[in-house]
Symmetry: C2
Subunit: 221 residues, 2 copies
């Protein structure tokens, strides 16, 4: 009375969910949604694809249960349906970096070049924050920072970095973070700061991972 077909069916469904992650634009959308809820418009502005296409991807994501949405006036706001999505994508990226040759090469060529130092782990950052021996900057866009950030972090997006150099400490290490472990902005910020003679390092993960680990989060009123 056992059903061998049930196994196939279940695996086909798992595969369907995996297929949702198998698209670069969808991964980008998920990363953006990990920062905060967004309307279709917002997402279009952020990733620069035609509206219909983004909408189509959002349908796919919703169909797999990775996102949820709610209507708010004219807008429909999308969000991650489950914080575990961040975990899943994290595992995927970690595995890709360690085992997929091309991914490893890309990361070595581009990222490691700009940031040869070991990144700071969450635990280490916590310790050093308590000791007061660190200056944390959040390089994401303002709207994402406003939705929540590491307590004590100063908002300083890439575009404004040069203008505020005088406000940064030269006797303390600066730690930069952004959307996730492979978000380009933090790498770029660290590279520019080092070029200017600052001591700067990157936080290993981004804000979503920090939040997921249930570490303290500051949300401005």
């Amino acid at each position: 009375m056992s059903a061998p077909g049930i196994k196939r069916q279940l695996y086909a469904q798992f595969a369907k969910v995996a297929k949702t992650l198998a698209s670069a634009p969808r991964l980008e959308i998920l990363e953006l949604l990990a920062q905060r809820e967004r309307s279709v418009e917002d997402l279009v502005a952020a990733i620069g694809l035609p509206v219909a296409n983004v909408s189509q991807h959002l349908q796919h994501l919703r169909g797999s249960g990775l996102t949820a949405n709610r209507r708010e006036g004219k807008y429909i706001r999308y969000r991650l349906a489950d914080p575990a999505v961040v975990t899943l994508i994290g595992s995927l990226q970690e595995l890709a970096e360690r085992n997929h040759v091309e991914t490893a090469r890309t990361i070595n060529r581009y990222f490691k070049k700009r940031d040869s130092l070991e990144p700071v782990s969450r635990a280490e950052l916590l310790r050093r924050k308590k000791a007061g021996a660190v200056f944390v900057i959040d390089v994401r866009p303002l709207d994402e920072f406003s939705e929540g950030h590491i307590p004590g972090a100063v908002h300083l997006p890439l575009a404004e970095l040069e203008r505020h150099l005088s406000e940064l400490p030269r006797d303390q290490e600066i730690v930069a973070y952004c959307r996730g472990p492979y978000c380009v902005m933090a790498f770029e910020a660290v590279a520019r700061l080092r070029a200017r003679g600052f001591q700067a390092r990157r936080l290993q993960d981004g804000f979503p991972e920090w939040k997921l680990a249930r570490l303290p989060v500051a949300v401005p009123a």
Copy 2:
């Protein structure tokens, strides 16, 4: 000097790795490899697809770095390249069960029906093993059991269950496990045992997850 293309490139590569998981046969192959190393022949016998097709899937898996292989005489033996593959697939399945409507329905219809009791967690099984209040059976095929199993577990595959009922305790709970959290065999075993009046439950995960958690493992010489 920042490269916006690098982000796209990296995400495309992550997507490529995800695409590897986006196929039912490949997920099956990975589950089989999580139990032990296998030749192409072995895999063909286990999943019942044409040789060339299985080989093709294996090329794909290898290309993404999820598997590795070595030649041994006429055979080429494949294995998981990284234990983290088990973690990744686990996250995927968990997310699918919680959020993907069809997956949840399948699981409720088929699996929950056969096993309405809460499964036993790894931690709970460990505690109860120490207290001696549990009888553990491994319902996987012999070759997988031989490659490693939970210490003290008795090998009792589905096909031989009925023949050995007299050797099972009626005053102790029986815990069955197999390849993973959604492996059909453990569900089936528990259902049959309950029908016969035994107290039986399922271990929440399978052997690969047990091993990954660095819990004690028995490997016969």
